[in-house]
Symmetry: C2
Subunit: 713 residues, 2 copies
């Protein structure tokens, strides 16, 4: 119901749309602009809370200025020149800084972390990052509660550095045993493998055994003779890595491993969370099939399980992604986030006894933002799936209050007290506003309003709207650009840009609605450009997200065709000149569309595509597709190898030649299938690019894509 | 002078040219025809001498028929049915057969070699090829003088099989030590690594140590998870393999290695030749720089050098390629072939004392064909570089006599007596004639005349002629096809097909002048197609061949431009629509031409190109380019990386993705350089193709090349 309201709001917005700049809009985009021209993005404005205070810091005239949120009074904390003098260096720009809990300035630069007392203008401490002669060190992690303490990895092993000495936490000669690094290919919200206990006495770390995981070879052409760049790539249905969590006692030098017994050795260990007292570790243990989760607590000193606090099951999939958050007002309780209980991501208050109390009561996906003793703050899609607003829920009463009012997408940083927040937001025609807001709902203060970055360029209007999903149950949001000098009595070629995969949202009520500037370039060159989200994408609840299960691409295509057919129902669209372009999952969607609807699409450009889910990684792929053994019909139906013979349009495939995400086997196997059937197909590798193509490579890429549509569409 | 005469002959030939077929020439070629239609090639006619006799064998009506060369009388030796019965099998076709020295029939099939006595219709012997359970065996070599004796390799080691037992000749665990296989990447005429002594008591074998040679990784996409296909690839200027020659005594089981002391460990051992008495081994030892050769003899039982018989030096390069040939009438003398003494490949009579007597006295390249007690037979380019005729030289008098008279290219097989020869020849408009000729110059006998294979297709006239080289010193031969429905008042686009590299001759006075059928397809589609040899190619003497030294591509381009400019001087050529296509060295030439003459070439397609000689192999590349250390200016000038920024035309590069000859680093590095400069370039990999693209892959390839010229030229 709330979504319906939004549609009306968006419709209103569309009718009142007008370009915002006043100058003549003459300049057309080049692909240099598309890729490299940062001036076309809204200006940033850096602001952060100072420690636990209600003052925020900004950089003004080469000095760090603190402003009291309550009074609005500002004072200079320290100038760049003073930092230069203190650190004995001359920085070209203000160095990157942050603040510790006590409000001291922390400057990280030149291989050192300095903590500076702002009252006395003196260095409280300086800690050098670890370095080891002739060795490449990585994953350097500072434990700020124990000044000089760093953890880091060299190759497959994990080390500690206390400011003077280096200590090996692990010493495995077998390179397949990897410690201290991220595991599970960064799925389940995993980004790293080093977890200091809050009291800095223990170091928990991931350890994966990749012995059974197959290698995927790639070629590094940048060395004198060309060299092998090998990666471990766990493919769907094949043997996977085995993950353990080690706990290293920093004073004794001993390591224990948590005794995880659920499921088999190919289980996932997700959402690693230390208890505030550093005595327990909480893990959401997930089976390889990704259907069952056990939230367990473990004794960090023995590794033994204390309890299974709660479990989740879903016949499709469950996907734990959010660490537990300890409740500030009652450290025996924690906030738990799942979309497996009420259809949407909501926040739940839990305790060790397994009591689960729903905290947010919203039929929309919710993200935790902060808390104080009385409230938990969160953002959600409650107003509409394309807007992101800040709310608070009172712990005692459960009363929910909306805090942000300006339409659009709000990014929030709460002050420690929970009285104030910094709000960095934009909407379709608002490039960027930074405000200080108040949770007592009193008027806040605007800190920054970015100017229109497109002045001087002929940026065309972007329309934001929605079309019903193919099953009629949802509104799928789109952005649409009509070509330059649009004349509704003429016919224009159409380009559908598509991503379509999980964990994505292509269309938001942000500035330019998440425009990729290449779309604007194509509109300037006479194309109608259309981008729409479909079932399977994020921020729309569990049912919408899981509609793709065991048949990736199927309902996504149906939704995209529903959107496209709505678009093509307009007289000004040339139905005989429809192109499609996408990358990664969007590359998969591009070829899926071209081979399932060969009469619709005349030209396509697919980048780094999945071609057959059997060649995709276990962690992501088995969540959505199950595996080659238990879902053969799903793999057969979605395989573009099987579909290659249906290709009729002009198709260009581009891929980074050292793509470790969608490995080269995908696209090379597809063109080999085309070759087998003598079907024309085009290809272009980016020799030193990984899964995505950046910088100058991307300028070349977009020139190529543009030329391909101009030559053939 | 002789060449001048030829030009006139060719000119005469061109004026009298007319298509040979009588039927309506309606059908146009497809690329299926180009690649797969064997019926468009002249029919073969199989004939061979029977042992040492003057009778030859042909297959007639499923029987092997012998014909006496002198009398012309034929008799059936054995029928397929009789072979079937003898061997206890039913062959679908006559199995492949040959004859041993005694004239017995030798049939190799089903993993066995049968020797059949044709008088008694009985099996004299049958020897099974070796097989080893679960092992891939390779390089299987039969020693026919010791019936059941075979040598073969498994992985890096060499084995013997005597019909019952397998014996390891080498047993190196280190995979870098490779025995019994070809070395030096098949340069210097090397094709194998197993050399039985004539008396079958010893087995000489190549052994290479590749420890220092860098690996080049390639991807095999045909396995479940994609796997590494690694090759050893010795790159220019980098460490090379070390080659030794081992001699295994079959009765004692002991191995000695020849004690070769010339030059350093990266020397080449070429032209391995056993003495007729099995006591000595002759090697032409070449330094890595390929400027010095020592022809040495070694004692096969001790490995010690007996003598250096002669040496060669050349400041550019020497290239030993031809094994010694023992003189039948005097086994203390041998025939030695070199182009380093008199400007052309000639034959020399030598002995162990180092006496060298010039045998053929011809200002044209000469190939040994056979001998009897009085004469040595050879073919040469003496009549013209595009014709190959048979001659004989009398050993006593040195008198040279031409034996073949019909114009064209003659392929000769001498009878053992030297009285007769089998001559398989063709010329521009003669698809194939097989004759029995007589060295007494009396009339021979025509055995076969192939019908026109192009009947029913609209094959256009091919013109054969010559244009002066850029330095004015040579006539460079070309073939030229004018487009279908040619009208000299119109203008046509032009495609230059180029190879241009050493050891090649694209234009010969053979049937259709060595036409690649794709040229005819393009002519049918309205293109002028032109192919010409240039300096650096073979069969034109040492000076012509070595003109490219230290600067590959430079004089080749000058010559190609001389030919092209002659062509473009015709009004019917459209100077604004010139395309170029070539593969391998021709791929290098294509991009060299496009980047050195960017105003001339509008479109190019380059296949499997060399891009920078620093990435090419040592053996071939250092002969022509010296190396990256001593010829930096030559590498800089010829590098297409340096030239990439000059590219203006449309360029498509195609390459086999598992090309172990021009490794992928070449073309990927080139497109990366184009990417860096934002220069448009197109690419297409053939995922399971090596250096050349065959079969259905090639149909796709030629469709792609055709479309590229049709889209952009």
């Amino acid at each position: 119901m709330k979504r319906k309201l939004l549609i009306m709001a968006v419709a209103a917005l569309m009718t009142t749309f007008s370009t915002v700049a006043q100058e003549p809009q003459s300049k057309l985009l080049t692909n240099e602009d598309v890729v490299l021209n940062r001036a076309l993005s809204p200006k940033n404005f850096a602001v952060q809370w100072i420690g636990a205070t209600d003052s925020y810091a900004t950089t003004v005239d080469n000095a760090i200025v603190a402003t009291d949120a309550r009074t609005g009074k500002s004072r200079t904390l320290i100038s760049k020149q003073e930092i230069d003098e203190l650190l004995g260096d001359t920085f070209t720009h203000m160095p990157r800084y942050t603040f510790d809990k006590a409000g001291n300035l922390v400057v990280s630069t030149m291989g050192k972390i300095y903590t500076i007392d702002l009252e006395s203008r003196s260095i409280l401490s300086q800690h050098a990052f670890p370095t080891v002669k002739d060795k490449q060190i990585a994953n350097v992690t500072h434990q700020p509660n124990n000044g000089p303490l760093f953890a880091y990895t060299i190759e497959n092993n994990l080390y500690l550095f206390d400011g003077e000495n280096h200590k090996a936490v692990t010493a495995f000669e077998d390179k397949n045993i990897v410690s201290g690094q991220s595991v599970s290919r960064n799925e389940f919200g995993i980004t790293h493998g080093i977890f200091f206990s809050p009291d800095a006495t223990q170091l928990a770390f991931f350890q994966k055994d990749e012995s059974r995981v197959s290698d995927f070879p790639m070629l590094d052409i940048t060395t004198r003779t060309g060299t092998l760049k090998n990666i471990k790539y766990p493919m769907n249905g094949m043997a996977s890595e085995h993950v353990k969590l080690g706990v290293y006692n920093i004073s004794t030098g001993e390591t224990i491993y948590l005794n995880v017994t659920e499921f088999d050795d190919e289980r996932y260990l997700t959402c690693i969370t230390w208890s505030p007292d550093s005595k327990r570790i909480y893990i959401q243990v997930l089976d390889r099939a990704q259907e069952n989760v056990a939230l367990n607590s473990y004794d960090a000193s023995t590794g033994e399980k204390i309890a299974t606090i709660l479990t989740e099951h879903n016949d499709l999939f469950v996907e734990p992604q959010h660490d537990l958050i300890w409740l500030q007002s009652d450290p025996s309780r924690f906030i738990y986030s799942t979309n497996n209980r009420d259809g949407y991501y909501n926040l739940y208050l839990c305790d060790d006894a397994g009591n689960v109390e729903r905290l947010t009561k919203t039929d929309a996906d919710v993200q935790y933002v902060g808390q104080n003793d009385k409230f938990v703050f969160y953002t959600s899609a409650e107003v509409s799936p394309v807007d992101n607003h800040l709310f608070m829920v009172e712990l005692k009463s459960g009363k929910q209050t909306r805090l942000t009012t300006a339409e659009g997408w709000h990014n929030i940083s709460m002050s420690k007290s929970g009285k104030y927040y910094l709000d960095n937001y934009s909407s379709l025609n608002v490039p960027r506003v930074v405000e200080m807001g108040r949770t007592d709902l009193k008027p806040g203060r605007e800190l920054f309003r970015a100017p229109d970055p497109t002045v001087g360029y002929n940026f065309l209007p972007i329309e934001l709207g929605s079309v019903k999903s193919a099953d009629g149950k949802y509104d799928n949001y789109y952005r649409l650009i009509k070509p330059m000098n649009f004349d509704p009595t003429k016919k224009y070629p159409v380009i559908l840009y598509v991503y379509g995969g999980p964990h994505s949202q292509m269309v938001k009520n942000t500035y330019q609605a998440q425009l990729r500037r290449w779309e604007m370039l194509m509109a300037q060159r006479g194309y109608v450009v259309f981008v729409m989200d479909n079932r399977g994408t994020s921020n729309r609840g569990a049912e919408y997200e899981k509609a793709i299960h065991r048949q990736c691409g199927q309902c996504e295509m149906q939704d995209q065709m529903a959107g496209l057919n709505w678009l093509l129902s307009h007289e000004w669209c040339d139905r005989d000149r429809v192109g499609v372009h996408g990358w990664s999952y969007g590359g998969f969607m591009t070829i899926s569309l071209m081979t399932n609807y060969p009469e619709v699409f005349k030209v396509g450009v697919s980048g780094g595509p999945v071609i057959d889910w059997k060649w995709y990684e276990i962690m992501y792929g088995e969540r959505y597709m199950d595996n080659t053994h238990n879902n053969p019909e799903g793999f057969a139906k979605t395989s573009l190898i099987n579909n290659a013979k249906n290709l009729k349009g002009k198709l260009l495939i581009c891929q980074g030649a050292i793509d470790g995400t969608c490995v080269w086997q995908h696209s090379l196997s597809f063109i080999q299938e085309c070759i087998k059937h003598t079907i024309p197909v085009d290809y272009f590798p980016y020799p030193v690019a990984e899964h995505n193509v950046f910088g100058r490579d991307a300028v070349h890429l977009y020139d190529k894509i543009t030329a391909y549509f101009e030559d053939y569409l």
